[in-house]
Amino acid sequence: MRRLFLILRREYLAYLLTPGFLLALVTFPLIFAASVFLPTLLSRQAPAPQLIVLDLTGIGPQGPGAYVAAQIREDRARNLPQGRAPVLVQTPASLSTAQTPDAAGRAVQAYYKAFGQDPPPPAVLVLAGSAQALDARLWTPRARLLDLSGQLEDSLTDWSRETRLRSLGLSSEAIRAVSGSGVSITAYSPASRTGKVTLTDRLPHLAALGVSYLLVTMILAGSGMILTSVVEERSSRVIEVLVTSAHPAELLLGKVLGILCLFFTGLGALAGAALLIAGQLPQGAVQESVRAVLNGGLLGWAAFFLAFGFLLYGSIFAGLAAFCETPREAQSLATPLSMLMLIPLLLVISGLQAPDSPILRAAALFPPFTPFLMLLRIADGAPAWELATGISLMALTTAGAIWVGVQAYRTGALTQGSANLWSILRRSLQRQG
């Protein structure tokens, strides 16, 4: 135990006192914040789409073209985000002569050709037909779906409904009353913190997804550190001195736990800073969100699964690294194992929609996936037997992974030159037998 602690401390301090760790502490929250705010920022910074409305229905001021244009002007007056409020552009003369949708299409293509690509030309909404059978085509200069197509569909659906209701003899006031009517359902649950189910109740599930991402990140970053450390020790023969001073299990676990402690230090510092900042904010959605994540010991479970997941994978990585002379060899050996982690990550993303799915429940009991998936099940109120089974199987598998890692580390560390992994593992098993 004393030697284990000494090795753990050496590994921990070797990384803690480096500029790289401090840099990671600063950059990690920045990257996290960027991943949250960047999509909104990009959307807000994007120039408003330009739109030409070409109404060929011949209905006149009561036609769909005028209706859509009025709606757009109203939206712009309400200061909607740029992406959702297009700017109306005067119809150019080359388009205004078209009589049919097909002719309009040809005219639009000629217009785009003449306009150039930077800035892109406006989108063109071509409307034809009648109120009963409206033909609406949206031309865009680039072959991609525009966000505003949904908005235009809503607007034209409203026009169509209002036109039909008017033809049935309803007044404008009655039509507005019909359009404004609707029923909303309020959900209640004893499992909700406030009784009423809100978006905040989804936060533990999102936190589970975050922990899975974090675990994958930790394992990938940590495995790189473990691989480099073991390969360096092997190539510089430090490992020969170490194995004459401590048991291979102490060396392997000290290394893995040292790096795990390093991650927990970083995460602890970031979580502490986040809580401090949240405490300074006024009562509201942020504080409510923090409470929702802290509720039910979710952080404790997250730490538990992070630790077990890292031990499980870290031990195997350390064992593999002991067979490698160069970091490149180690990386190529570790790649298949890294790919394996994508499976639970995909499952947890899909599981957000269906956390009760039998596939997800079974996968959460598969030990290599348990650290990634069980938190989602806990957030969804998994029964005690399921949790106990998952944890027991995971603990047994982790113990097995540590044993295999130690055998591989011991044998690989003492093998001079290139080694055949399978024959060495076979010898290890024979030795144990």
Binding site: R237, V238, E240, T244
Partner: protein, 314 residues
């Protein structure tokens, strides 16, 4: 020295596949002795040291280290310096010594004090807090040695400790080995350089192709090799070959006369052959008696004499 050996190997064999790297090896090393483990490359020296340390299990045979059946059980009482000195390059000498000392059970503060004193004794006082990667190779090797000594091991195992050291550092290491032995530690080292073994060892074992070819003291090893006489004058190889105790003669021409290198039969003293030459009235102008060295014994015993060039001054 006490009767209980520091190290005892009985019929130890280690095979890798069908190949016996160490074959039926037996020897014992008394406590407090300086023991030289000699042999050409691939003789099985490092594998034997690894078995002693418990890093490799013998295929058969029995091994006792400081009274234990396995070096791992007494790892805190053993100091090991591998051939390629293993140190974390980003640690300072003080950190490395404190860390490795602590692994062997020495409190960190005591380990640092001891390391400081040893490093200063070796003239490395100015580099105590310099990262090892910034030290010269020789300095790093000395740091590795200090890390091996910091817990005052009862058994010191040094794998090729002199390789890569300049003559000054080699001398300092010889002094250190003598000091450790005088303090009661048992020192086991492997080497190719016979002069170190000749100066330091109470006992040497010679290995060739995994088998022991000699076990005894340095004088006993020397006596295995033939003595040599250098004779100059108007001499013929035939006349010299007829003298008693002459095993082999090699002649070379000089501006005046010849130079004959004469190998004597084992156990034959040079003065007996020389007296016979004078009694026979041979015209010897100059003579020189050369005692056999460990180098000659090494070449003879390992069967490498014909294959290896003669080393001047060995």
């Amino acid at each position: 020295m006490t009767d209980a050996p520091a190290l005892e190997l009985t019929d130890v064999t280690r095979r890798f596949g069908d190949r016996a790297v160490v074959d039926q090896l037996s020897f014992r090393v008394a406590r407090g002795a300086v023991f030289g483990f000699l042999g050409p490359n691939g003789a099985g020296k490092t594998t034997t040291l690894r078995m002693i340390l418990g890093l490799v299990a013998p295929t058969s045979g029995r091994l006792t280290v400081l009274g234990a059946a396995d070096g791992r059980r007494v790892r805190d009482r053993i100091g090991f310096l591998p051939e390629e000195r293993g140190l974390h390059p980003r640690m300072t000498p003080l950190q490395a010594a404190a860390f490795l000392g602590a692994l062997k059970g020495v409190p960190a503060r005591a380990a640092r004090q001891k390391a400081r004193s040893l490093l200063e004794g070796l003239g490395l006082g100015a580099s105590l807090n310099t990262q090892i990667r910034r030290l010269s190779k020789g300095m790093a090797q000395q740091v590795a040695l200090v890390c091996t000594l910091v817990h005052d091991p009862e058994l010191l195992i040094l794998d090729e400790p002199f390789s890569g050291l300049d003559p000054g550092h080699q001398q300092a290491l010889e002094i250190l080995i003598r000091e450790r032995a005088a303090a009661g530690a048992t020192v086991v080292f492997s080497t190719h350089v016979m002069s170190h073994a000749e100066r330091l060892c109470d006992q040497v074992v010679l290995l060739a192709k995994g088998r022991k070819v000699f076990d005894g003291t340095v004088p006993q090893a020397r006596s295995q090799a033939p003595g040599r006489l250098i004779l100059e004058g108007d001499l013929t190889p035939e006349a010299i070959s007829a003298l008693p105790g002459v095993a082999e003669v090699a002649a070379s021409d000089l501006p005046e006369g010849r130079r004959l290198e004469v190998w004597l039969a084992p156990g034959m003293e040079a003065h007996q052959t020389l007296s016979a030459a004078f009694r026979a009235g041979l015209p010897v102008r100059r003579f020189e008696s050369r005692e056999p060295g460990l180098h000659e014994a090494f070449l003879l015993l390992t069967g490498a004499r014909a294959a290896l060039p003669e080393v001047e001054g060995a």
